[in-house]
């Protein structure tokens, strides 16, 4: 058997991929084989500082010992029985998620997109109960909610791909910075406003308070639900357990995934009491969701992250990171909250080229748009990690200015 820590090497792995995997991803030329805290190692033994964490998944750092222990212990006793039976880790995690947020009920899923599917179902059924025959869901033009057909239909940028059509009916979008457009879009047939409080895939754009207030106000007037997609922003990423805690509104439903499992696939749709009783037996389900191992991992993650001292650390270190980045030549602006940071580069600087160069220098970042780097480091990093990342970005930008 191949040693996981050594691997078969990049070239052989790439050859297997070329032959057998669908061509849905354009991967960076690195074959990672090991991770610990904020660090990754490739098959050649090269070390990387990870400021992406698998797109905001490994927020507790790679292979956090508490998560590893929880997974290992649970896997020794019970891995799966389905949702036809009770399992304690699922019930305990539901309690913890509900009590830490909106106070209603939880539906577990296997991913963020599935959590959003649940939220869309809740919204539509809630609207039918109001007598709405053709319920509509409003989102922002540059939102990202997932790739299954319901979530995809609420993701205008991807839904425009006609080759995948038709999308589901009953979705419309408005600009993210226009409160009047939001008010105008919500009416009698609106089932929900489904938005990211800080857009992630779009390039890290916090939604203005006045737009969120307009959405809340319009939903309340229409009897619609306000749904926050907290798949990327939740679980401490912005310096509070949930991003909505730093906004002037309280949503009716939130969806979570990514960092919730510390690397283990899990999603959750969490309601307020208002929406807690909408779904009934037969309305929704999942074979794997809420399984003992995934929920045990999530409980271990929350033990680490739901800590006021850690969340304060995230806010303070995030401010330090943005301040340090802002001082670099080639950085036009920084956006975000906590350790969810978008770095807008000066005009003419190719972010994709910078991202590739940084990977070569041993720093893993993401490039969500042509002029932006996205930084999503582990929440457990320290100022030395930040200093090193900023130093590498600064060095890289020096070589690309005016290119």
């Amino acid at each position: 058997m191949t040693d996981v820590a050594d691997g078969i090497g990049l070239e052989q792995t790439r050859a297997l991929e070329e032959r057998y995997l669908m061509r849905t991803y354009k991967r960076a030329p690195v074959d990672f084989v090991r991770g610990e805290g904020a660090l990754l190692w490739d098959a050649d033994g090269k070390q990387y500082l990870d400021f992406l964490t698998g797109i905001s998944v490994c927020s507790v750092g790679h292979c956090h010992p508490d998560v590893v222990k929880a997974v290992r212990e649970q896997a020794k006793h019970l891995i799966h029985v389905s949702n036809l039976f009770y399992t304690e880790p699922m019930a305990r995690l539901a309690e913890r998620l509900s009590e830490s947020s909106l106070g209603g009920r939880v539906f577990f899923a296997n991913s963020g997109t599935e959590a959003n599917e649940c939220a869309i179902k809740i919204a539509r059924k809630h609207a039918h109960a109001r007598g709405v025959a053709a319920p509509e869901i409003v989102s922002f033009e540059s939102d990202f909610h997932g790739r299954s057909y319901g979530a995809l239909s609420a993701t205008p940028g991807l839904a425009a791909n006609e080759a995948l059509g038709p999308m589901l009916p009953g979705f419309r979008s408005v600009p993210r910075d226009d409160p009047a457009a939001m008010r105008a879009a919500v009416g009698a047939s609106t089932a929900a406003v489904l938005v990211e409080p800080i857009q992630g895939e779009a390039g890290v754009f916090p939604i203005a308070d006045e737009v969120l207030l307009a959405a809340r106000q319009a939903c309340d007037a229409a009897g619609a639900l306000l749904i926050f997609d907290e798949i990327q922003t939740g679980i401490g990423r912005t310096g509070s357990l949930w991003a909505y805690e730093q906004t002037p509104v309280r949503p009716d439903v939130i969806t979570s995934a990514k960092a919730l499992g510390g690397g283990f696939p899990i999603g959750a749709c969490i309601t307020s009491p208002l929406a807690a009783e909408v779904l009934e037996p037969g309305d929704h389900g999942s074979t794997f969701a809420g399984g003992p191992v995934a929920t045990a991992a999530a409980l271990a993650v929350l033990d680490v992250i739901d800590d006021p001292a850690l969340l304060r650390h995230v806010r303070e270190l995030g401010a330090y990171l943005r301040e340090s980045l802002q001082a670099l030549e080639g950085v036009r602006q920084t956006r975000g909250r906590g350790l969810m940071v978008g770095v807008g580069l000066e005009e003419g600087v190719d972010a994709a080229a910078v991202g590739a160069d940084l990977l070569g220098r041993g720093l893993v970042v993401n490039v969500p748009r042509l002029d932006t780097l996205r930084l999503l480091p582990p929440l457990v990093i320290d100022s030395d990690h930040v200093d090193r990342a900023v130093e590498l970005i600064g060095e890289s930008l020096l070589g690309f200015r005016g290119s």
Partner: protein, 199 residues
């Protein structure tokens, strides 16, 4: 003939001696009995004293403990009342914020509840469950067009409340209020939620 002389005298003497011995023994026994009674009385008296002392000590300890418990209960009741006041204040703030956002009473904004039946079995149904929902006539509620200064103020209070609950510092909340709502003097909101700043 006895060596003592006249046998009659000897017998008399013997009887007298026996009588005297018996009397003396009787006296000794009586004295011993009296002494024993005295010892018992003393012991009983001592025991009563001990009991009385123990009872008094127990009463004192009970009184002390009762007083301590009473103080503790008073403290806990005080804390509970304080918590209740804080919770009521928080709830009032949230309801006020929500009502202002709605432009109508907080209790009137929720749509009619969905009627739900308890699940009867664990098995996943093979056929779709017919929705058991009560249709509600939708009434178009007026949307606040003014962008609402009152809504903004309520939003600012809700923002500050949520940030305070999530552990943000006074400075962090003030920063967000200044940036998000352009509120320069944040003390009024912060004092209402966090209490006056200690000098």
């Amino acid at each position: 003939m006895s060596p003592a002389g006249n046998p009659r005298d000897f017998n008399r003497q013997q009887r007298a001696l026996r009588a005297t011995t018996a009397e003396r023994l009787e006296a000794i026994v009586e004295a011993a009995e009296r002494a024993a009674e005295g010892v018992i009385d003393d012991a009983e008296a001592q025991a009563r004293r001990y009991l009385a002392q123990a009872q008094a000590e127990a009463d004192r300890l009970t009184q002390d403990r009762t007083a301590e418990l009473s103080d503790l209960i008073d403290t806990l009741l005080g804390q509970a009342l304080s918590l209740r006041r804080e919770a009521e204040s928080l709830q009032a703030t949230l309801e006020e914020a929500r009502a202002r956002i709605d432009g109508q009473p907080a209790s009137a904004d929720e749509p009619a509840p969905v009627e739900v039946e308890e699940p009867e079995e664990l098995d996943e149904p093979e056929v779709p469950v017919t929705p058991r929902l009560r249709a509600v006539v939708f009434e178009e509620a007026p949307l606040a067009e003014e962008g609402g200064r009152r809504s903004d103020a309520a939003g600012a209070r809700l923002l500050a409340t949520q940030m305070a609950i999530s552990g943000s510092s006074r400075e962090e909340i003030a920063h967000r209020l200044r940036n998000g709502f352009e509120i320069e003097d944040t003390d009024a909101i912060l004092d209402a939620i966090l209490g006056p700043e200690e000098s």
